[in-house]
Amino acid sequence: MTKPIKIDVWSDVACPWCFIGKRKLESGIEQFGGEVEVEYHSYELSPDTPDDFVGSTVEFLAERKGMNVDQVAQMLERVTGIAAAVGLNYDFDSVKHTKTLRAHELLHFAKEHGKQLEMKERIMAAYFEQGTVVSDIDELVRLATEVGLDADAARTALVARTYSDAVQADIAQAREFGIQGVPFFVVNGKYGISGAQEASTFAAALEQVRDEEAAA
């Protein structure tokens, strides 16, 4: 029996291209047809977001980064269109930009309980499509229960910040690898794929790795 191909993904739950890239990766894996194991790793795209900030993406970029409001709106409109093409319904009018570290801690909690992929999907959909504040512990616990995780255990982990070190370790690993943008995919620890590539790119990469493994 051959070993599954491992894909490590660095992404942030608040990264629009990461959700699009997730869909494209899933399509690529489906095209490939072989056994693949995906593991998500934490990456904080806006580490300078204040702990208590909750606001629209436009507000954050315009007020805190000094970007032009019209052009931010144009950027978001464009990415919304691309998201729609892969079946995602981004609603930037309702998106609440906020600190994402706690959401990443929940992803580590979910990983430990075998539910990381479901949790990642649920948090990203909540953020981009449903206007959920993904730094809010009550909201995170709600999302955790929706994927079958224990509410009390999730809350305890979030309040105690049990997985904070694991999140920081992922971020440090990304820095060590030289990852400067997300999503970033690492296939079998050897190949790097940057950005929301086409599904066919993921499929071709997986076929290449499978062929190399078979020849080795």
Partner: protein
């Protein structure tokens, strides 16, 4: 300056859409004007200083 291309054998389009800092844009597409320019300048500045905020 660290760079993932020195760590991994890269596959696919290096200019594929990705998020760097707060700007989620495709590096090759410059039509976003000042949003892009501001971000590139900011990121270059961060990279030059090896700022951890570049992550």
């Amino acid at each position: 300056m660290s760079d993932a291309t020195r760590t991994f054998t890269m596959i696919g389009d290096l200019d594929a859409a990705a998020c760097v800092d707060d700007a989620c844009v495709r590096p090759a597409q410059r039509e976003l004007g000042s949003v892009m320019s501001a971000t590139v300048a900011e990121n270059e500045e961060m990279s030059a200083s090896e700022s951890t905020n570049a992550l």
